[in-house]
């Protein structure tokens, strides 16, 4: 099932064109990796899906991005609804300078007016269990989130996100600040989460894309060069440029 589709998507930062006619389709309950050398536009593409690019001045987009049959680039799009549905995990874990508990209930508190203490407690427990942090943190919920380790922080950010029940998880190099063991544990978590969510991960780490994703898109200089099943992209790339990149000729 197609969850997100881009049609002729073009994007400019001022005069610089960062995305050139990107056509792609992302399937629900699969992990799609977007790879490519830095500056190729992969993060920009990811940030189109929850309109985070809107924060940057002088940005202009053309084309369509359809999520659940709605063009989210439409000016009438309700960004609150969109971002609730399409959540994002950032490169650097960014828990708020609040307690662990408050970080997780943040989304519920901003989206629902009166929530009972019990249902908040339940959300905290369920979300932390989903990211396999519950046993570690259940006695430390009142502690500041900034005291956690990097990996715990990133997991907490994922927990904070799935607490608002999104459909899509956008991950912008979520492991780039983590050590190899933490990385593999977060990857494992991603595999578990894919049953419930559509996951799109941007990574400069090709091994990670190969390990964790079902589909892969390769981008170069703002173009989506090749898009297909990860297995095919890595073993039998159709485009010469994809082959050069995955065999390490540049990047």
């Amino acid at each position: 099932m197609k969850k997100i589709e881009t049609k002729n998507l073009k994007l400019w930062y001022g005069k610089f064109q960062a995305l050139k006619s990107v056509n792609s389709a992302f399937t629900a309950n699969r992990i799609t990796a977007i790879i490519g050398p830095s500056g190729c536009g992969k993060s920009t593409l990811l940030r189109v899906f929850n309109r985070m690019n809107d924060l940057i001045e002088g940005i202009r987009t053309e084309g369509e991005v359809v999520i659940d049959n709605e063009n989210i680039l439409d000016s009438k799009t309700d960004l609150v609804v969109l971002r609730k549905k399409v959540g994002m995990v950032f490169q650097r874990p960014n828990p708020f300078p609040l307690s662990i508990y408050e970080n997780i209930v943040f989304g519920e508190k901003i989206h629902v007016d009166h929530v009972s203490k019990e249902s908040l407690d339940e959300i905290v427990e369920r979300s932390l269990k989903d990211v396999l942090l519950w046993d570690e943190l259940k006695d430390r919920l009142k502690e500041p989130a900034l005291r956690l380790s990097l990996e715990q922080k990133q997991r907490l950010c994922i927990a904070r996100l799935i607490a608002v029940k999104p459909d899509v998880l956008l991950m912008d190099e979520p492991c780039s600040t983590l050590d190899p063991q933490s990385t593999s544990r977060v990857e494992e978590l991603m595999r578990e989460l894919k049953n419930k969510y559509t996951i799109i991960i941007v990574t400069h780490n090709m091994q990670q894309a190969a390990r964790v994703s079902d589909d892969t898109g390769f981008m170069l200089l703002g173009e989506l060069i090749e898009f297909g099943q990860t297995h095919n992209i890595f073993t039998a790339p159709k485009d010469k440029r994809t082959e050069d990149y995955i065999t390490g000729r540049y990047g």
Partner: protein, 287 residues
């Protein structure tokens, strides 16, 4: 030769550095020496909590409680007015205003800081005092409230510029994280940015209040200068600073009145020092 030159310059800079500390020390010592003498005449408790300030009657009554309360009342009023407006202004400048309005506002606030306090006091006397008088049907507009409003204007530039810096220094990633969860702009500001900037905001408030408590000219001109126990904010009061400024000229050097004014100086010094130290603690508190 070069080494000698280097040596001399280094020592000269050292002396410049030490000079400021040296002068502060001297001032403090002088203040203590002159001020503490008053406690040969009244006990510290009677001085701080005495309700009558009649320094030239015989025997002199040297209780500064009305002055302390006067200062506190004016300061409290100024804080109530300037903190919400100042922080609100800082939020607007840091987060909401378009670039051009931001520049205009910042320039305006710097200009406000540049107005000499005597000028503000003068304008207050001509405009604000009659306004307060008519507004509340008072016998006189020279009240604590007038002083509070005037002082709020003086605290505002400090509060706005430091609070704005504090908001700017909140990491962008917090804001992105909140927006990505579907928070509105205001929810992001209220629930993430303000808590993240809280120590800087508190420092801004403390420094603003510090400015208010030490202010002399404007309060002397528009608060009525009546050294009586204040009951409401709509009565004339007198502050610690105004007392020193108004009476130092007529106090006989070496008299108990003279010593008492110095002792008031010590009290002021301690209050401002405490406020500055608190502000500093907030500024340097790390998560």
């Amino acid at each position: 030769m070069r080494k000698v030159k280097e040596f001399i310059i280094e020592k000269l800079i050292l002396i410049c550095g030490l000079a400021s500390i040296f002068f502060v020390g001297l001032i403090f010592l002088f203040l203590l020496k002159e001020g503490l003498s008053v406690f040969n005449i009244v006990t510290p408790l009677d001085f701080l909590f005495g309700k009558s300030w009649y320094p030239i009657s015989d025997p002199a009554q040297l209780g500064i409680l009305p002055l302390i309360l006067g200062s506190l009342l004016v300061t409290l009023g100024a804080a109530v007015i300037s903190i919400p407006i100042g922080i609100g202004c800082a939020i607007y400048i840091a987060e909401i205003a378009p670039a051009r309005i931001k520049e205009v506002l910042k320039a305006g606030i710097e200009l406000l800081a540049a107005i000499p306090s005597v000028v503000l006091g003068f304008i207050g006397m001509i405009t604000l005092v009659p306004f307060v008088k008519n507004c509340f049907h008072l016998p006189t507009g020279l009240t604590a409230l007038s002083g509070s409003i005037m002082l709020a204007f003086m605290a505002m530039p400090t509060i706005v510029s430091i609070a704005e810096d504090a908001l700017y220094s909140v990491p962008k990633t917090y804001k992105e994280g909140a927006l990505a969860l579907g928070a509105t702009h205001w929810q992001t500001i209220w629930r993430v940015m303000l808590p993240a900037a809280s120590s800087g905001l508190l420092a801004a408030i403390m420094l603003g209040i510090g400015r208010v408590i030490g202010e002399t000219m404007a309060v002397m001109m528009i608060t009525g200068n009546a050294a009586v126990m204040p009951n409401t904010i709509l009565e004339p009061i007198r502050t610690l600073t105004a007392t020193i400024a108004a009476e130092m000229g007529e106090a006989v050097v070496g008299s108990e009145h003279y010593f008492a004014l110095f002792a008031i100086g010590i009290v002021l010094f301690i209050i401002s020092f405490a406020i500055n130290v608190t502000a500093d603690l907030f500024l340097h508190r790390k998560q």
